[in-house]
């Protein structure tokens, strides 16, 4: 009786187990060499990864401080590390602060010189006039002008930021001076000593100029020229008033 060929072949495969000691030793040596090489590579990768990680963290921190990160990333970094972008705590005159007030002096001066004598849109201001808001807020600010931090509150609430964003959008994106003026008024009414109050006040004056309300604009610019807010926008305000004077034939 012959064996099942599959069983026979299976048994043959099982029993064919030659052991070549040279091969065994060679494989062993090769394995140990490769394990050591892998360990060395891992150490080298670690040594390289540490400075790279430090560099990456430094870059993120700098970008976060400068406010160059996308908004969601910035919010996350602020929440995790407490690093706030420079734009939210910039002092007057700093680069970032300047960048937020988009129109240059020359551009505004040009616009002022070609400004229509009548307002571009009917004044849709709140019951309190812009001048009243300006004088009130200027007085409020002047009382704290001698404080060491002319920016005012060190913290910024979400509502304050949102109001500022809306005003900024109406002013510089939609280019609607009437809506922007209303929005700046609302921002200042909400945060008269807010972080971006100075910026808002200056932008208020620009809106008034665009609307042809030159007297109110001049009134708003005077505290800047007088140095009530330090040197912030002093030169620009002086140039604008000079342009207004020239237009008025003074």
């Amino acid at each position: 009786m012959s064996e099942d060929p599959l069983f026979a072949a299976t048994r043959a495969l099982r029993e064919l187990s030659e052991v070549d000691t040279d091969t065994e030793h060679f494989t062993r040596a090769k394995i140990l060499r490769d394990v050591r090489q892998r360990q060395r590579k891992r150490v080298r990768r670690g040594l390289l990864a540490i400075p790279l990680a430090a560099l990456a963290m430094g870059s993120v921190a700098m970008a976060a401080t400068g406010g160059y990160l996308p908004a969601p990333v910035q919010q996350w970094v602020t929440r995790v590390t407490g690093i706030e972008p420079k734009s939210l705590r910039a002092k007057p005159g700093s680069d970032r602060f300047e960048r937020l007030s988009l129109p240059s002096v020359a551009a505004v001066t040009d616009r002022t010189s070609s400004m229509p004598t009548a307002p571009l849109a009917p004044s849709a201001l709140a019951p309190e006039t812009a001048a009243a808001v300006l004088s009130n807020s200027a007085a409020a600010f002047a009382s704290s002008a001698k404080a060491s931090d002319p920016v005012g509150d060190s913290s910024m609430t979400e509502e304050e930021f949102e109001r500022y964003r809306l005003a900024h959008e109406a002013h510089f994106v939609k280019k609607d001076p009437a809506a922007a003026l209303l929005a700046w008024n609302e921002y200042l009414a909400h945060a008269p000593k807010g972080r971006l109050a100075l910026e808002a006040r200056y932008n208020q004056a620009l809106c008034l100029l665009k609307l042809g309300r030159t007297q109110e604009a001049r009134h708003a610019l005077v505290p800047f020229v007088a140095g009530s807010y330090g040197s912030y926008r002093r030169q620009e305000a002086r140039a604008l008033i000079a342009t207004l004077d020239a237009d008025a034939g003074l």
Partner: protein, 204 residues
Amino acid sequence: MTSAMTFAEFDLSVFGVSHERHQSPPIDLASRLREGDVQAVAEAYDEFAATVRAFARRLLGDLEVAEDLVHDVFVTLPSAVRNFRGDSSFKTFLISIAVNHARHHMRGAARRRAAMQRYAEEPEARVDDPEALLRQRQLAGALSSALDELPLDQRVAFVLCDVEERPSPEVAAIVGVPEATVRTRLFHARRKLRQKLEQLGVTR
């Protein structure tokens, strides 16, 4: 000599395991491997390489490719051992690593075997009964060729269950599937292998 042996030494010698090795249980070895101890890799090789090599040779049917598989198993052991929780034997764990690596080596082994058959470079027998050994080699070679036709899962099931005669619960643990799946794979593997052996002219 035997009388001077302790009971533990005698007990171990029956299984061909030295007393010194037994004092280094797999869990301890695993923890040293996790720490990247090269000496632990050497110890693991000395103790378990024969098992892995036998499985690799039976699965792949090619000595050189089997050595490559053994090499891969032990080189990757320090990182793979992180998955070893000690709920199966260390041998079982090593065989499961070999199964995971086998896929990369199967094609190369089949190619080499086909080339060897073409050029008739099979080594000659050097034993007392050359005819018997030749017959044995032919049968083993035919089975290895037939195994090349099977999917890896069925091939592994056949080698572990029928060639290495491991119980199906252990095979299930090695390949990480239920026992019923192992049995199904084994059934299909046997059927296909019988057909293939017939085609190759291996008959009763």
